[in-house]
């Protein structure tokens, strides 16, 4: 059993994340919100990891943020092989978590600290960000 086989539906692909993936498909970032802790919950969970109270609501973020770190991957594994070179990143979302992401392009002109916005979905369904127009 390879990791790739599990990614569509497996023990790691939890229903608590369904709203996140559905939102992403519509170009939105929707995350569970803990009212008690006044924070988004990342990764998506049914209970807030800080207070362990049930998460009652959700929050739609602006979909903008800043590149926290990035790497141009030249050697992809599995289904990613054919997409190399591609850019894997962490994006610090405005009002939310620093999340794993893809950046559009091959890395040219991208730098840590740059402002980015959600620009669609990546080659395998991840969150794809692109630089904000100046």
């Amino acid at each position: 059993m390879t990791t790739e086989q599990w990614t569509v539906s497996g023990p790691g692909d939890v229903p608590e994340a369904a709203a996140f993936w559905a939102g992403l498909a519509e170009g939105r970032i929707v995350l569970p919100w803990c009212e008690g802790c006044r924070q988004t919950v990342w990764l998506p969970k049914a209970y807030c990891p800080t207070c362990l109270q049930p998460v009652a609501g959700s929050q739609e973020l602006a979909g903008t943020g800043e590149i926290y770190s990035l790497t141009v991957v030249h050697r992809g594994e599995g289904a990613w092989k054919e997409h190399a070179p591609y850019v894997l990143a962490y994006v610090a979302l405005d009002g939310g978590p620093t999340m794993i992401a893809n950046l559009a392009g091959d890395g040219t002109g991208l730098a840590i600290g740059q402002r980015v916005r959600l620009a669609g979905v990546g080659p395998l369904g991840g969150a794809l960000f692109a630089p904000l127009a100046e």
Binding site: W6, T7, G12, V41, T50, Y68, L70, N102, G113, G126
Partner: protein, 383 residues
């Protein structure tokens, strides 16, 4: 200083590329090597410390001929598992749960997929997979952030490989037994920028074992038995999206290990540092307190990590050049530290008057889900 337990036997299997040996035979050769080094027999072993293995721990006990086990620990901390086992075994011995503990690992990733590849993913892996994350890419993200925040350069990282390769040039068993220049590292092909091919460790088949015993047992053995004087462990993860990648687990485990031992970084003569990638070493140097946060690059620039430097590290060539069996380096980093404390390292890289060694393990993936374990070892005459 309290010596928790002692290391009576240490054995690194010479295999680097398997050509048909079964895992069972590999395990048998390893336990035989470690017990011969300690002067003990299978019947003496009452504690077993390992991680997930084919057929589970009972199957491994059958292979090893262990019939009198009274304490078993299968804690899996990735490549840091066997550094953690130093503490787990020492504390089990202190508690009277066992008196002769075997810590053992073997695997052959060049020949067959590891049984330890966590093929049933947890929720983070689903997010990682959909974004094309992989092992080296997660270390690359740490390296890129470190370079951005602190001005660390690829050349700094390359010096770590070059220093390890200098040591490996004295180790005929090393998979990469030759000196590698900084330029070669810089010019090797990029895998996940800023990390290139030669920023990576070698992938080897093989394994090793340690025999850990109580003070009483050690006294009856004719062997030089370095002491375990501290061990601390922790985990880092995505933490609800509050990421600080350069703040690796060593920042937690280093100070705690030094406090346990009553020592400071200045007391350390030799460092066995987990070196899955060059950045793994650089961040550990900062977390353990050998360099200030952000100054790991400055620390290594003048050759500090070389056998004649301020902090000789991985004098066998490390995982970067010698041996990283089953993609898990903690065992071999510990074995070379034992050689140094016994004065049995290669004469060209033996540290003079080596009294205290630190071993740091870093398991899983530095940028997403990582374990960190720090142990401090003392020469056998330190009481």
């Amino acid at each position: 200083m309290q010596v928790l337990a002692r290391i009576a036997g240490a054995y690194e299997h010479p295999m680097r590329k398997n050509s048909g040996t079964s895992l069972q035979t590999l395990y048998q050769e390893i336990v035989a090597g470690a017990l011969a080094d300690a002067g003990l027999r299978p019947a003496d072993i009452d504690g077993l410390f390992t991680s997930a293995t084919a057929g589970g721990i009972p199957s491994l006990a059958e292979t090893l001929g262990l019939t009198g086990l009274t304490h078993i620990d299968g804690t899996d901390l990735g490549g840091a598992t066997y550094v953690g086992a130093l503490g787990h075994a020492a504390r089990a011995i202190q508690a009277g749960q066992c008196s002769v503990a075997l810590v053992i690992m073997a695997g052959m990733p060049r020949l067959a997929p590891s049984v330890r590849n966590f093929s049933v993913p947890g929720p983070p892996q689903v997010f990682e997979d959909r974004h094309g994350s992989n092992m080296i890419a997660q270390y690359a993200l740490v390296a890129a952030r470190h370079m951005h925040e602190f001005g660390t350069t690829r050349r700094d990282l390359a010096e770590i490989k070059a220093a390890a390769s200098y040591h490996a040039s004295f180790n005929p068993n090393a998979l990469l037994p030759r000196e590698v220049s900084i330029e070669e590292v810089l010019e090797s092909r990029p895998i996940a920028e800023p990390l290139h091919m030669l920023d990576c460790c070698v992938t080897t088949d093989g394994g090793g074992a340690l025999v850990i015993v109580s003070d009483e047992v050690a006294r009856d053995l004719g062997r030089d038995c370095p002491g375990i004087v501290a061990e601390a462990e922790t985990i880092r993860h995505w933490n609800n999206g509050n990421l600080d990648l350069p703040d690796v687990g060593a920042f937690n485990t280093g100070p705690r290990a030094f406090a346990q031992a009553g020592l400071t970084p200045a007391d350390i003569d030799y460092a066995g540092l987990y070196d899955s990638f060059t950045i793994t070493v650089l961040t550990a140097l900062e977390g353990l307190g050998f360099a200030e946060r952000g100054k790991g690059g400055v620390f290594v620039r003048d050759g500090a990590l070389r056998a004649d430097g301020r902090l000789p590290f991985n004098t066998d060539g490390g995982g970067l050049c010698n041996n990283h069996p089953d993609r898990r380096g903690g065992m071999i980093r510990t074995i070379e530290a034992v050689r140094q404390l016994r004065g049995e390292a290669h004469p060209s890289v033996q540290v003079a008057d080596c009294e205290f060694a630190i071993v740091h393990g870093s398991g899983h993936q530095l940028g997403t889900r990582a374990s960190a374990v720090t142990a401090i070892l003392a020469r056998s005459d330190v009481r």
